[in-house]
């Protein structure tokens, strides 16, 4: 659990972060979203003390983050940044082993852990262990960056625009991988992005910031349904919000008994994508498949009803 208590950061006379308070529950993903200059990165960097707050306090698992020297605090917190930040002079394995080496793990344990993480990120250890970062694709570099952040098994992972440098297709895959790994490891994640779509896709909770102030901190549904200010509404894009709402859940719960023509739609498909498919193919309903079998059908009508403001 991370408790941020009325934290303020002044740079000269300007407040980059103003009196921000929020609590991130253990094992949740909190996404801080805002435009550039909103103070979101400053807020993130105060958690691992890359920036020291002017006033206020931050507690991680009940302990003030100033109770340890900064470098020791940071070794216990994963940190992944945009453009991966890998050390270009070190191999993939050496990069991943950075924090375990700083913590003085023994060699065997480090190499086992490195291989385990590579496998977790769907990279064959034998192939990738000894590569240099410049020999990897952008998506692979990004995965190694996150693997390095998770190497010592931190309870908290901080991510600063981790997918910002990826193209849309690889980004979607990286987001899904992150969700899967976060669920498996139970890590508490604080992620900063300027992309509301990403925030809605990833966040258990979303914090919207503007000009250093926290405007709203809530679950995605609430943010979409009841934006606190006109700025939050603008960020959501008023024409898109119905679709954003649909994108939060999949169609499994909407499957009803009945017949439908045409190709099936998988039960894990988001409601937004399913509606898009129905509109595009001109069908009123489509069969829903789960694993091998058909579990029913989903109708255009049911999807449209779910898009209305809750």
């Amino acid at each position: 659990m991370i408790e941020i208590q009325s934290v303020t950061k002044m740079f000269a006379a300007d407040a980059a972060v103003k009196e921000v308070s929020l609590t991130i529950e253990r094992g949740q993903i909190a996404v801080v979203v805002g435009t550039s200059g909103s103070g979101k990165t400053t807020l993130l960097r105060m958690i691992n003390r890359l920036i020291e707050p002017t006033s206020g306090a931050i507690r991680i698992a009940g302990r003030d983050n100033r109770s340890l020297p900064p470098h020791e605090l940071r070794r216990g917190i994963g940190y992944a940044i945009q453009g991966h930040g890998l050390f270009p002079h070190r191999t993939v394995a050496e990069n991943i082993a950075t924090v375990p080496r700083l913590l003085g793990w023994d060699k065997l344990k480090i190499s086992r852990r490195t291989d385990e993480l590579l496998a977790l990120f769907h990279l064959d250890p034998a192939t990738f262990r000894d590569r240099m970062p410049h020999q990897l694709s952008g998506g692979q570099q990004q995965r190694i960056g996150v693997a390095r952040a998770l190497a010592a098994g931190p309870a908290v992972l901080l991510m600063d625009e981790p997918f910002g440098a990826l193209d849309p297709i690889i980004r979607a895959k990286a987001q899904d991988d992150l969700l899967e790994i976060q669920r498996r490891l139970g890590t508490t994640v604080v992620l900063v992005t300027h992309d509301m779509e990403e925030a809605i896709h990833l966040g258990d909770k979303i914090a919207v910031m503007d000009q250093g102030a926290l405007l709203q901190y809530d679950e995605p549904q609430e943010i979409i349904a009841n934006p606190a200010t006109s700025f939050v509404e603008t960020l959501l894009g008023s024409s898109d919000r119905a679709f954003r709402l649909l994108s939060l859940e999949n169609i499994e719960a909407l499957a009803e008994s009945g017949e439908a023509e045409g190709p099936t739609i998988a039960a894990e498909t988001s409601r937004r994508d399913a509606l898009g498919e129905l509109l595009w193919s001109g069908r009123a309903a489509a069969p829903v498949s789960k694993r091998e079998g058909i579990i029913g059908r989903v109708t255009r009508q049911a999807l449209i009803e779910k898009a209305a403001r809750p």
Partner: protein, 396 residues
């Protein structure tokens, strides 16, 4: 000319500008300039000898034909490996024939007469070496291959010397007259150039780190070092004489350490002072040039300040620091020559002796090894820079 770095194995089928220049230099050297110079003794004015007078008639004709063919082949042949082969062959032939000209021209049992290569020889050698260097560059050799080429060249020159091919030439006569002195001055030269470099690196790299970490002192420190660079070397030697002489006279034990107004102490200090700027500036620039994300990541993973410096910042800045060391080494090898003027020793001793005795071959005995050393150091360190930076930038 084809772009350097994208190794095309053949050139476009037309006469290129460099080829035309090289060919005109070589043809001029072959037909218009003396191949060898004959002197009655080591300091009188030389009698220029054309190629056909420098060698037995048949041999001279064969050499002239072979070199003319080589020149035209270089002009028209587009295949780089062939061009390289021709350039190497021609350079070797020139080397051998220079030695043979010495044996042919020297009157029997005359130990005073001297033969040295003439302008024609030097122009031809220059032309073929340009062709050779051009071919090597166009091949886009890897750093290891360049080191290999350097080793082969050194071995070839070593073999020429070991087999005494040039023993009848005046420069080698000068060498044999004072071989012991030559090697002593050679060692002094290397020690002055290398020692001042090592001292400058030991002081300059930490200063560069301070420059990078403490922004306030950077301008004043770099400007001070800049001012030192602008002082001409002779003037700097002169400026150091008085204070060092005073130290030698008044500080007990200083003289025992070799401190004196003239000699190697002021030379060492001046070289050290000149070496500081490139090393400090390159260390600071290399550290500044580290990707911001790598620096941020090093902080974020919880490295302490010394860990960041040793594990991330210095390794990433190393290629740039090494470039600074390369600049200093090549610069030092040349500058040590001046040190001979103030009694610092080194190969400059032969150059200044040669000038005062009007013995050009003694000047060459000092000059050629200096040029060879500077050239070797440049190739060696360039290759090293490419190797270390290629490791993490994917260029090796």
């Amino acid at each position: 000319m084809s772009a350097i770095g994208s190794p095309a194995k053949t050139l476009p089928r037309r006469v290129d500008k460099l080829g035309a220049l090289v060919a005109s230099i070589a043809l001029g050297g072959l037909y218009l300039q003396p191949f060898a110079l004959l002197r009655a003794n080591r300091i009188v004015a030389p009698h220029p000898q054309a190629l056909w007078n420098s060698l037995p008639t048949f041999e001279a004709t064969a050499v002239a034909v072979a070199l003319t063919l080589a020149i035209f082949a270089l002009l028209f042949c587009a295949r780089i490996p062939v061009r390289l082969g021709i350039a190497v062959g021609a350079a070797l032939l020139l080397g051998i024939e220079a030695g043979r000209a010495g044996a042919h021209l020297l009157p029997a049992a005359n130990t005073f007469a001297r033969v040295s290569p003439g302008a024609g020889f030097w122009l031809l050698l220059c032309a073929f070496l340009i062709a050779l260097a051009d071919g090597l560059v166009r091949l886009g050799l890897s750093p290891y291959a360049r080191l290999g080429a350097l080793a082969v060249s050194c071995a070839a020159i070593g073999l020429f010397l070991a087999f005494g091919v040039w023993n009848d030439l005046s420069m080698l006569r000068e060498y044999h007259n004072q071989a012991e002195t030559f090697w002593r001055e050679f060692r002094t030269h290397v020690a002055l150039a290398g020692g001042s470099l090592a001292a400058a690196a030991a002081v300059g790299i930490p200063l560069g780190i301070v420059c990078y970490r403490v922004e306030r002192i950077r301008p004043s420190l770099l400007n001070t070092l800049n001012v030192i660079q602008t002082v001409p070397s002779i003037a700097l030697f002169g400026l150091l004489m008085a204070p060092l002489a005073w130290i030698a006279a008044s500080v007990p034990g200083a003289r025992a350490l070799g401190v004196a107004g003239i000699g190697s102490a002021p030379a060492f200090i001046a070289l050290f002072a000149y070496a500081l700027l490139p090393i400090v500036a390159n260390t600071a620039a290399g550290l500044e040039g580290i990707p911001a994300q790598a620096r941020d990541a090093a902080l974020g993973v919880g490295m302490t300040s010394p860990q960041r410096l040793l594990q991330v910042e210095l390794p990433l800045a190393f290629p740039v620091i090494l470039t600074g060391i390369r600049i200093v080494l090549v610069q030092n090898i040349g500058l040590v020559v001046i040190a001979a003027l103030i009694g610092g020793g080194g190969l400059g001793v032969f150059i200044f002796q040669g000038i005062s005795q009007t013995a050009p071959d003694l000047v060459l005995l000092g000059t050629l090894p200096v040029v060879a050393m500077a050239f070797t150091a440049a190739i060696l360190l360039d290759a090293l820079v490419d190797i270390v930076s290629g490791r993490f930038r994917g260029k090796a």
